[in-house]
């Protein structure tokens, strides 16, 4: 199925959770904020949230420089 990830189309397997998506993207989970369909999802909920066709996911990285 297809989702929109940061504004771009991405193919993911049916039943993919947010947790799995973050793992597939090889991102460090403690430095991310994840929004699903305009709602921020807390990290502790990622394993329980399953993605569906057409879902819009935004991932923001927390960085340290300045």
């Amino acid at each position: 199925m297809q989702i929109r990830l940061n504004g771009e189309t991405k193919e993911v397997a049916d039943g993919t959770t947010l947790q799995r998506l973050v793992e597939q993207l090889s991102l460090a989970p403690d430095r991310l904020a994840v929004e699903l369909n305009c709602e921020v999802i807390r990290r502790t909920d990622w394993p329980r949230v399953t993605l569906f066709e057409g879902d819009r996911v935004e991932i923001v990285h927390f960085v340290g420089g300045g």
Binding site: D30, A33, E35, C38, V60, F62
Partner: protein, 338 residues
């Protein structure tokens, strides 16, 4: 007030907003690239009082993006807070500028934010940002998070107990030695200008009493990949340790971000409180951009100018070439990342 006429003409500020600005005090924490841009914009805008704190001195490699400083400051290794104070006085002599050369820690952060109407984040590490978040939420002072690496930057405005705080969004302080820094991945000035501009605009809205115009989200920009996006962050986390439960763990003496020990002449040991195993090969890979690197199964050694950092698998580091604890912490934040 001819000086501010264009700003007063602007609807969002007006005469009333300008008067409020003149009666306000802002704190710039960390006067590197972001802090330089923030201090200059606030001084030009006519902020009444500006407090600038920084632990570093000016180096040649700062000049590409840190607009407060000159070649002469780098040659003379002037502390950044001092150089910034001089520059602010040249830009706008009406601004009462207080400067402090200090490492912001749990021992001084509450004193530094005292009496401030807004705090702008110009720091270079995660640990100090969580410290600022705790102090600002505890004392009800608004603060504006901002950070940049490479061509990417992010910013968020925190109004304590009104909008989500940093810990509502990121429940844990990221582990030390886990992320690229400006000294390992580089940074270009345009992203600094973007992030600092949004931070200052947010501060002007807060100070001018126009909170309804705040962007209300987590903004991210990448000026090279051409991405601009905003995540709306409306709700505070119901179980946020900081702004809901009122636990300010980074302010407690026993749980500061780092411990430091002087070890002999010209060496300081820096240890993150949250011990974690680090990937030495990955760290070595990032550090190769910053200087000569040696790696073995137990440690990574970086030679950067006159300093030598030896980082062990437990994220502890020995910084050689100084007995200044603040400088050692600064070098750790720059190269290893906290």
């Amino acid at each position: 007030m001819e000086r501010y006429s264009r700003q007063v003409l602007f609807d969002g500020i007006g005469e009333e907003g300008q008067r409020r600005l003149r009666e306000s005090r802002a704190l710039v924490v960390g006067c590197g690239a972001l802090g330089s841009a923030q201090a200059e914009m606030l001084a030009r805008a006519g902020i009444g009082r500006l407090r600038i704190v920084d632990r570093d001195f000016v180096e040649e490699s700062n000049l590409q993006r840190q607009t407060m400083f000159t070649e002469r400051d780098a040659r003379e290794r002037v502390p950044k807070a001092v150089a910034a104070g001089r520059r602010v006085a040249e830009i706008n002599s009406d601004v009462e500028c207080e400067t402090e050369v200090a490492d912001v820690s749990q021992s001084n952060v509450e004193r530094l934010i005292e009496g401030c109407d807004v705090v702008l984040d110009g720091t270079d590490n995660f640990a100090t940002r969580f410290l600022l978040n705790d102090a600002c939420v505890k004392h009800g002072v608004a603060w504006v998070y901002g950070a940049a690496v490479g061509s990417y930057g992010v910013t968020m405005t925190v109004r304590p107990r009104v909008t989500p705080c940093l810990r509502c969004v990121f429940a844990e302080v990221p582990a030390a030695a886990s992320a690229p820094t400006c000294d390992t991945a580089g940074v270009i000035m345009p992203i600094i200008s973007v992030v600092a501009a949004v931070q200052v605009a947010e501060s002007l809205k807060l100070l001018a009493g126009r909170a309804e115009s705040l962007h209300g989200g987590l903004l991210q920009f990448d000026v090279w990949r051409n991405e601009w996006r905003r995540i709306a962050i409306k709700e505070r986390a119901p179980d946020c340790a900081t702004c809901v439960l009122g636990r300010f763990e980074t302010l407690e003496a026993e749980s500061g971000d780092m411990t430091t020990v002087l070890c002999g002449r010209d060496a300081v040991q820096v240890s993150p409180r949250r011990a974690s195993r680090i990937d030495l090969e990955a760290l070595a890979g990032r550090l190769r951009a910053a200087g000569e690197v040696k790696v073995n199964p137990y440690l990574v050694r970086l030679r950067a100018g006159e300093y030598e950092l030896t980082v062990f698998e437990d994220a502890r580091a020995i910084v050689r070439g100084t007995d200044d604890v603040g400088l050692a912490r600064s070098l750790y934040a720059r190269y290893v990342g906290t």
